[in-house]
């Protein structure tokens, strides 16, 4: 682990930047702030950051522009996208274009800290996996990737299309591994509820008092909830892709929403 974590926060509202600085100070994370993307990129060129937290709507280059820029320049720093205009489209687009997480404003201390901690852990795992692959070390597998027929939103939630038209939804192993503390409790929605792609569909509370939300990979009405995982939480960790599913849903807008899901066969993370 690195000694000090450096985070770059970009937002056109000073109060947001101040609050991010304040909240991160609790965990001893060093936060540099930038009032727009251009000055943020300038700071990025002078210093190495472990994470960027960026708003979407800003004068000049916006959050999506930043993601695009980073991908072009092959800068592999993870980005958490946050916005006050937290529409489904923005969330899904952000995750599809390479953000590690989407944090809708307004967020709480816990939400920010859990998102940041997961994002940091995610980049650590990813870097180590890459390093292992470079060394042709196929033995080291830091996480179990989701099965090839599955699709995922970002790296968090997976969806599997059943033959009868319903869809199973669950959590990737990688997401579980970014949660560093033990799971204390999970919050599931009950059947007949609607879930919306890119919006939180379940929460995991951990021992370190953080709450981790999973963004639903697809929209639809919940048909069935996996009662087994309520009885035995560890099932999620033991078998995240089969017995550890969360919901069976009736997708509401499958054709349209599938476009934003990344096939698990893809090499990219």
């Amino acid at each position: 682990m690195k000694d000090v974590v450096h985070i770059l926060a970009i937002d056109d509202e000073q109060v947001i930047l101040d609050s991010i600085v304040k909240l991160c100070s609790l965990e001893n994370w060093q936060v540099d702030t930038a009032i727009d993307t251009e000055s943020g990129l300038e700071k990025l060129s002078n210093k190495t950051y472990q994470l960027i937290i960026s708003d979407i709507m800003m004068p000049g280059m916006d959050g999506f522009g930043l993601l695009e820029y980073l991908r072009e320049k092959e800068i592999s720093v993870p980005v958490i996208i946050t916005t006050g205009f937290s529409t489904v489209e923005n969330a899904v687009k952000a995750l599809y274009t390479g953000a590690v997480d989407f944090l809708p404003k307004p967020f709480t201390l816990e939400e920010l800290l859990s998102s940041v901690s997961r994002a940091l852990q995610y980049s650590t795992i990813r870097d180590r996996q890459k390093a292992a692959m470079l060394k042709n070390d196929t033995e080291t597998l830091l996480y179990i990737p989701c099965p090839a027929k599955y699709r995922r939103l970002g790296y968090g939630g997976w969806a599997f299309l059943e033959a009868d038209g319903s869809v199973k939804i669950g959590l990737t192993d990688l997401f579980l591994r970014t949660i560093q503390s033990t799971i204390k409790h999970i919050d599931l929605l009950s059947a007949d509820n609607e879930i919306v792609q890119g919006n939180s569909c379940f929460q995991i509370e951990t021992d370190d008092e953080l709450t981790h939300s999973l963004l639903a990979p697809l929209s639809g009405r919940i048909l069935k909830v996996n009662e087994q995982i309520l009885a035995d939480i560890t099932l999620i960790e033991k078998d995240p892709y089969f017995n550890g599913w969360f919901y069976t849903i009736v997708p509401a807008n499958l054709e349209f929403e599938l476009k934003y899901l990344i096939p698990c066969s893809s090499e990219n993370l």
Binding site: E13, V15, I16, S19, I20, K22, L23, L26, M57, T83, G84, F85, S86, T87, V88, P104, K105, P106, F107, T108, L109, E110, L112, D164, G165, S166, A191, D192, V196, N199, S219, G220, R221, L223, V250, P251, A252, N253, L254, E255, F256
Partner: protein, 624 residues
């Protein structure tokens, strides 16, 4: 006053009457005068002839005293003003007024002028030239004069007295003047009665016109003006009602029709606006409020974490965090509003879908003590549907039915069967073109929730639009203009005005002209152009024959839907559940069924229950 229509009409009628009666009076008086004058002329010349012959024998005998006596006696008659006999030189030889005897007349005097105007005196004169009308003084009554020449005759020159030589042609002139006062008085009377008659006619006509205009123009116009004021002030429910059967009555009906249409359009606009503006509002609110909310939420949750050891402070901060999170949910709720979905169709078994929908709501039905009976036909063919959307339809219908139970539960019966329906009265027209290829479908005007076919219509001088019922054979058209029943309507494309009348064909029912619209890929539909004409023919569809549909009926034993709400239940935002419902459930169902080429209708009886009937085409290939 001057600008009032009644004044204008009465004024112009008065002017016309004055001209007509004036002309009539002028010609009438002139005719009367001519008749009277010619009568006097005839009478006077006759009298003059009588005088001449009565003095003839006295003249031949040169018995001057007799002549004088005769002339004087005649001259005494009333109306005869003067009788005189002049000799060739103009000397008055005999006169009724004896003081005039011996006077010499100038040849230029009015009595002589006609013959002596030229150098050589005329010997013969026409009757009309022998008469004259003159006034002795400018203020005296008119006088009529006639001269009668006394010609030389053999008995004159053979007479013993030999007064007149043989060569002489005219011996003298008998001049008779008659007073015209009686005739003039009569003419004056005629003129006066004409004026009186004219005044009376003007008065009577004005009065009648005033009543007519007041009853048939003023009153209805006042009502129309009142109606426009009401509508201008925003009262679109105002109607004029029945006025007359004349043009103003037609205007009133047309006005009522217009306000009704406007009110409907406003309502539709309002409803679609509601959604759009809510979306814009949500976006605006979300963006503007979420940033400050972030400040509150992060700082308060930060403080909460630090205040763990101070229970009092902790509790207060928890309230702030909790309430801010609540605000966040409200804003999110606004943004989540209005999502749409595109159907994804697959071959599926409707029975399975209903079973699945039933299993989802089973628990809920048990709680509310509602039993669900299923009468599902076992071997229905598979249909091309979006299973998830269709399941949503059945879930919603069952949940709605369970909510409709009056008290203490009830039962819902869901049944399916295979039926066969003829295209006439069931097939929906989803695309329609004019001969030049313009799209005729109008999604803004819906008939029973389906986009209608918009055509330009012309009938009896009025012009506007007609929206045809998109269900083949149903004929629930919306007329944008007033058309009399059975009247023929000229139909054309609203975009290019190309006529849609097929001149080669006639309606087989009533013989009226036939319109046609092109259905891309499916031939054309023909129909009778008369209002109320039922005949429609879609050759290709008729040749295809009856089609199979799956009929799904959901019947409940609930409270029923009041008749006034039956037409509205599929409209978005219509709800009877108050704050609990969004009013979108049934409209979403309607949309899904429509997307599947099916139809849904409802029948309901208060306190008995409601039946929703869905028809889904088994072969869906031609509905796209």
């Amino acid at each position: 006053m001057i600008n009032k229509i009644s004044f204008k009409i009465i004024f112009s009628a008065t002017v016309a009457i004055i001209i007509i009666i004036g002309a009539f009076a002028f010609f009438n008086v002139r005719f009367l005068e001519r008749t009277l004058v010619s009568e006097i002329k005839r009478h006077a010349s006759q009298q003059s002839e009588t005088i001449k012959s009565s003095v003839r024998s006295a003249m031949l005998a040169n018995n001057r005293s007799d002549i004088s006596a005769i002339i004087k006696t005649i001259g005494k008659q009333q109306c005869i003003q003067e009788v005189r006999i002049l000799n060739k030189e103009g000397e008055i030889n005999y006169a009724s007024d004896s003081s005039k005897i011996g006077e010499m007349l100038d040849k230029k005097a009015e009595a002589c002028y006609n013959c002596h105007a030229t150098g050589v005196p005329l010997e013969k004169l026409d009757m009309k030239d022998r008469t004259r009308i003159f006034r002795l003084h400018p203020d005296s009554a008119r006088t009529f004069g006639v001269i009668n020449p006394i010609y030389n005759e053999p008995s004159c020159w053979n007479s013993s007295c030999h007064v007149h030589p043989r060569e002489q042609k005219v011996l003298g002139v008998l001049d008779l003047t008659v007073c015209l006062k009686t005739m003039d008085d009569e003419l004056q009377n005629a003129k006066i009665s004409m004026v009186v008659f004219a005044l009376f006619a003007i008065g009577l006509l004005g009065f009648v016109l005033w009543i007519v205009v007041h009853l048939w123009v003023d009153k209805p116009v006042k009502k129309l003006v009142q109606a426009t004021r009401e509508v201008a002030s925003g009262n679109l429910n105002y109607t004029i009602g029945h006025l007359n059967n004349d043009e103003l009555g037609a205007l009133a009906r047309s006005f009522d029709n217009m306000t009704r249409k406007t009110a409907e359009a406003r309502q539709q606009l309002f409803q679609s606006d509601k959604m759009a503006s809510l979306g814009r509002l949500a976006a605006g609110v979300a963006h503007e409020i979420n940033n400050p909310l972030t400040g509150i939420l992060t700082y308060s949750s930060f403080l909460l974490k630090r205040a763990k050891s101070q229970p009092e402070l902790k509790n207060d901060l928890e309230v702030i965090v909790h309430e801010t999170k609540r605000s966040r949910e409200i804003v999110k709720g606004l943004l989540d509003f209005a999502r749409q979905s595109v159907p994804k169709k697959n071959k599926a078994n409707i029975r399975n879908i209903i079973e699945r929908a039933a299993s989802v709501v089973e628990h809920q039905l048990n709680i509310s003590k509602v039993t669900l009976e299923k009468e599902l036909a076992p071997d229905l063919p598979q249909v091309l549907i979006d299973a998830n959307q269709m399941q949503q339809v059945f879930t919603n219908l069952i949940v709605n039915a369970s909510h409709a139970m009056c008290a203490g539960g009830g039962s819902i019966r869901i049944s399916t069967k295979l039926i066969s329906l003829k295209p006439y009265g069931t097939a929906q027209i989803k695309q329609a073109l004019c001969p030049k290829g313009h799209n005729l479908m109008d999604p803004d005007v819906k008939i029973r929730g389906m986009a209608s076919i918009k055509l330009r219509a012309k009938s009896g001088g009025s012009e506007g639009f007609i929206h045809l019922d998109p269900i083949y054979g149903k004929n629930r058209h919306k007329y944008g203009i007033l058309i009399d029943d059975k009247a023929e309507i000229e139909l054309s494309c609203p975009k290019c005005q190309t006529s849609l009348i097929d001149s080669r064909k006639r309606c087989p029912q009533c013989g009226a002209p036939v319109y046609f619209i092109e259905i891309p890929g499916k031939g054309r539909i023909e129909g009778c152009v008369t209002k109320g004409g039922e005949w429609q023919h879609w050759k290709i569809k008729e040749e295809e024959g009856a089609k199979e549909y799956i009929e799904i009926k959901t019947a409940d034993t609930g409270c029923g839907i009041p008749p006034e709400n039956l037409n509205k239940i599929f409209e978005p935002f219509f709800t009877t559940k108050g704050q609990k419902g969004t009013g979108l459930g049934l409209s979403v169902i309607w949309g899904i069924i429509d997307n599947h080429g099916g139809s849904i209708h409802v029948e309901s009886e208060i306190n008995v229950g409601t039946v929703f009937t869905i028809h889904l085409p088994v072969d869906d290939s031609d509905t796209e």
